[in-house]
Each structure stands twice: as C-alpha cells, then as structure tokens.
C-alpha cells in the first residue's frame, strides 16, 4: 500500500507500484548481471596452478567435442580461445614435415608455410566475413576456423599411418577417401557456426572462402608423400 514514508525514499517517484518492505527485492540495479558461468572466476589467483590448467584443458577438450558433433550450440562462440587452433596448427605443420625432401627446399611445405597459410587464411576469411556484415566477432571466427581444422589433422594422422603400411594405388584411394570425408566434415562443421551470423542471401558468399581454405589444406595433406 502506498504510504507517505515512501515519498522520502530516493526512488519513490519512479514507480507507482508500492513494494512492501517485508518482500525482499532481489537483483542488483547498478551492475548489469553477467552470465552465470562467470561466477567462479572472481578469484583465480589463489587456486592451484593445476586447477587453472585443467580448467583450460577442459574447455579446449569441450570444444573439440563440439567440432566432432557439430550442432548449433553457442559454447564454441561464447568462450573462444586460440589454444586449440594453435595446437592443431603446430601438429599439422609438424606432421607435414619430412616429406619428399631429398634436402631440397622446393619439396613439401615448410613449417612456416603451413603456419602462414592457416593463420593468414583464417584472418582473411574472418575479415571477409566481417566486411560482409557478419555478427560474429573477429576472435570468435578465428576460433571456429581453427578448431574445425581438427578433422583434417585426424585425416593427416590416418594418411601417415596408411603410408607406412600400404603403398601404391590402394593407399592413394584410401587417402583420397579419408581426406575428402574430413574436408567435407570440416566445411560442414565450420559453416554450422559461421553461416548463422549472416543474412540468407549472403551465406554462399561467406561459405565459399571457407570451402577454398579447407580445400587447400586438404590438398596439402593429400599430396603429402614421405621421403625415403
């Protein structure tokens, strides 16, 4: 019920609805309420180092699982990190070493070439997506593109194993199939995240550079042949 003493309170003039003093009002007017997942980060300085590392590893692993089963979830986008892409890029570049070299530098891709192609390609695709009016942020897009390289990395590991055991046409056919499957998987996974942030009549414009990017990486994997 409205009473005279309410007029003396500072916010009394703002509402006609009277709030009885017995009912506690929850919430904080001054500070915007953040997402509840941030509740546990108010004091990470005191926790043991192992806990910090394990939390980050768990986040990275969680995102890997999201890439394996790409469904429209915002976890990958909301908590972006670049650890996963860095790990995948370094693994890919290291595994592509030792290819058909004969100590000839015109051989397979150098470590720096792979690195540059992946990171520079991701940056260019992100810029393209932002210029076309995407609602996704710069680092979120880098995160998605980097994580979706995972199927191709798995394909490279499988290819190396195949090259060790089998040889000739059978090995080529197997490698071709594996690379095509993983390329399709990567493209599908990344477009599941990226294409949503655009208008329908520009989706193809955004998806094509991603397709080209994974195609080139798949090509590098397919044409990898180890030196003897």
């Amino acid at each position: 019920m409205a009473s005279a003493e309410e007029a003396s309170r500072p916010f009394a003039g703002l509402s006609d609805v009277s709030i009885s003093e017995e009912i506690p009002v929850e919430g904080d007017i001054a500070v915007p309420v953040g997402p509840s997942t941030r509740d546990d980060e108010f004091s990470t300085l005191d926790e043991p180092v192992k806990e910090t590392i394990v939390r980050d590893l768990r986040a990275v692993g969680n995102k890997f699982i999201h890439v394996l089963y790409p469904k429209r979830s915002s976890a990958l986008l909301r908590d972006w990190d670049l650890w996963g892409p860095l790990l995948l890029c370094v693994t890919l570049a290291l595994l592509l070493q030792g290819g058909a070299a004969d100590s000839d530098d015109q051989g397979g891709p150098q470590f720096a070439e792979v690195f540059v192609i992946i990171w520079f390609g991701s940056i260019v695709i992100t810029l393209n997506s932002k210029l076309l009016g995407g609602t996704i942020s710069f680092f979120q897009s880098l995160c998605v593109l980097g994580y979706c390289i995972m199927p191709l990395t798995v394909a490279l590991i499988v290819c190396r194993i195949v090259l060790l055991s089998v040889s000739g046409k059978v090995s080529f056919a197997v490698r071709l199939g594996v690379v095509i499957a993983s390329f399709g998987w990567s493209t599908f996974a990344s477009t599941a995240f990226l294409a949503d942030s655009h208008l329908t009549n520009r989706k193809a414009l955004v998806v094509y550079p991603v397709f080209l990017f994974y195609f080139v990486i798949g090509w590098m994997i397919l044409t990898f042949s180890p030196g003897n």
């Binding site: 015109q106 891709p109 080209l212 044409t223 990898f224």
Partner: protein, 288 residues
C-alpha cells in the same frame, strides 16, 4: 515519366513487366537503380503546382537516404571498405556470368556494376585462380608420371607465391594505369563516360574468372585442348574488357584508341602466357 498517377502518391516501381501490363505506353527501364528511382520521384514531385521551397531539400535528403549508405568514410576506416562488400550471392553470380559470356553492346560496368563495384569478386576470383594454377600444375605433372617409379611427387609451394604475385599485380596495377590514362585523356577531351578506380578494378577482377576453367582444362596432357582453352579464355576476357572501355575511348584520337585497346589485349595475353609458363614450369622442375 513512367506513369500518369498522382505524383504525390507513393509509387512502387516494380518489375518492368508488371508496369507494362498496366500501362502499355510507358517507357520502363528494368534497372533497379536507386539513383534513378529517387530521380523519378523527384521529378514527379516537381510537376506539382504547389511545390514549396523546402521540397528540393527534402528530396535531397530522401535521395541521400535512398541512394544507400554511400557515405564518404575516410579510406583508413573499416566502414570505407565495407561499402565495397555490399552485394549478395545472386549479384556475384550475375557478374561472373556476365564476364564469362560477353554480349556485344552490354557494357559490363553499366549493366552489371551499376554504381556498386565490389571487392569481393575480384579478390576471391584472383585467389581461386592462384590456387587453381598451383593445383592444376601439380596434377598435370602427377598424371604425366603416374606409375613411374622414378618420379617423386613434390608440392611446389614456391610457385604459389610467384603466381599470386603475378596475378594480384595484374589485377591492381593494370587498372591503376588504365585509370590514370583515362583521367589524363578526360582532361583533354570532353568525355561523358568516366569510370572510377574501383569499377575498373572490379571489371578486371571479374574478367579473370574465365581463366579458372581454362586452367582446370590444362590438367590432361592434350595439346590442342590446352591451346584451345587458353585462346578462348584470352578472347573472352579481352572482349569483355574492350567492350567495357570502348565508350570511354570512343571519342578520343584514333591513335590513342588503338594504342589503349592493343595495350589491354596485350597485357591480357601476357597474363595468359604467364599462366602457361608457370604451369609448364611444374613439368620442367620434376624432370630433375
């Protein structure tokens, strides 16, 4: 004017076919040009008797709003480049088809670009062409030596950087030169047609689209197919370029016209030969 309705009534200018159904005598243009629409509305309003002094100002505001977000942002900001990506999928498809199939009389800039040059097409067509050259070069050597146990397959990554330098410099430096040339000539002769730098870059970028299938056809080692594809690509892209720049050069001194046209075709031919050389270089390296 296109219609005889009350000029104060808001008019929706639909497809030319619909307009012609209602009004057989009407002159309709099927170009959806925002500038044209606003101009029509402006002159329609101008016919009315009681046009106040504030009408032109309101119309200018309306034209500013209708003509889209072509604000003059400085070139070092992100927004400046965003207006060159203001296109949709079907626009890009139309532009690529327009460059693959040039029609005499259809000027690429006027028909397809319509004051909306984009940087998406040129950039990604050039990138695709670079990788297409690299991959088809690799594939053609691979197919030649398939089954040959002496042959060790290598991926030539140095060629990618050479190819990309060549193609991107063609796509940017030649339009720069041509734009400078047109600017210089427009000081000397009265020219009704003038192209902005971005429009010229756009035309050159889209004219490279025809080289992508030509380069893919290089994979099998069939000599006549290679020659045929490169000659057809050269003819198509040169004709697109010449037809685009003809209106700008038409009124000029004949020597300048001939020199410019020959220059355009020659540089295009140089690019075609360059592609051939790069792809052939893949063959030569692996002989050793």
């Amino acid at each position: 004017m296109a219609s005889k309705n009350d000029p104060f009534q808001f008019q929706e200018f639909e497809e030319a076919g619909n307009l012609l159904e209602s009004n057989r005598d009407a002159v309709t243009i099927s170009i959806e040009d925002e500038d044209l629409k606003s101009k029509r509305q402006r002159s329609a309003v101008g016919f009315a008797q009681d046009v106040g002094d504030e009408e032109p100002l309101i119309n200018e505001d309306r034209e500013e709003l209708l003509s889209g977000q072509k604000k003059n942002a400085p070139f070092w900001t992100f927004e400046y480049y965003q207006k060159f990506f203001d296109i949709e999928t079907h626009h890009v498809k139309e532009r690529i088809l327009g460059s693959l199939l040039p029609w005499p009389g259809k000027n690429f800039i006027q028909v397809h670009l319509r004051k909306n040059p984009d940087l998406y097409g040129p950039f990604w067509i050039c990138t695709t062409l670079v990788f297409a050259i690299a991959i088809s070069g690799n594939l053609s050597t691979f197919l030649r030596y398939f089954g040959n146990s002496n042959y060790k397959y290598t991926a030539e990554f140095g060629k990618v950087s050479i190819a990309s330098t060549a193609i991107f410099s063609y796509a940017w430096l030649v339009p720069l030169g041509l734009w400078g040339l047109l600017l210089w000539r427009s000081n000397k002769i009265l020219n009704l047609v003038s192209y902005s730098f971005m429009e010229i870059v756009c035309v050159y970028g889209y004219s490279l689209a025809v080289y992508i299938p030509a380069v893919v056809l290089w994979i099998p080692h069939v000599e006549w197919l290679r020659w045929l594809s490169i000659v057809v690509a050269l003819c198509l892209s040169s004709s697109v370029l010449v037809m685009t720049f003809w209106p700008a050069l038409r009124d000029d001194h004949p020597k300048v016209i001939i020199a410019t046209v020959v220059g355009i075709v020659l540089l295009n031919g140089l690019l075609a030969v360059g592609c051939k050389v790069i792809i052939l270089a893949f063959d030569l390296i692996t002989l050793f």
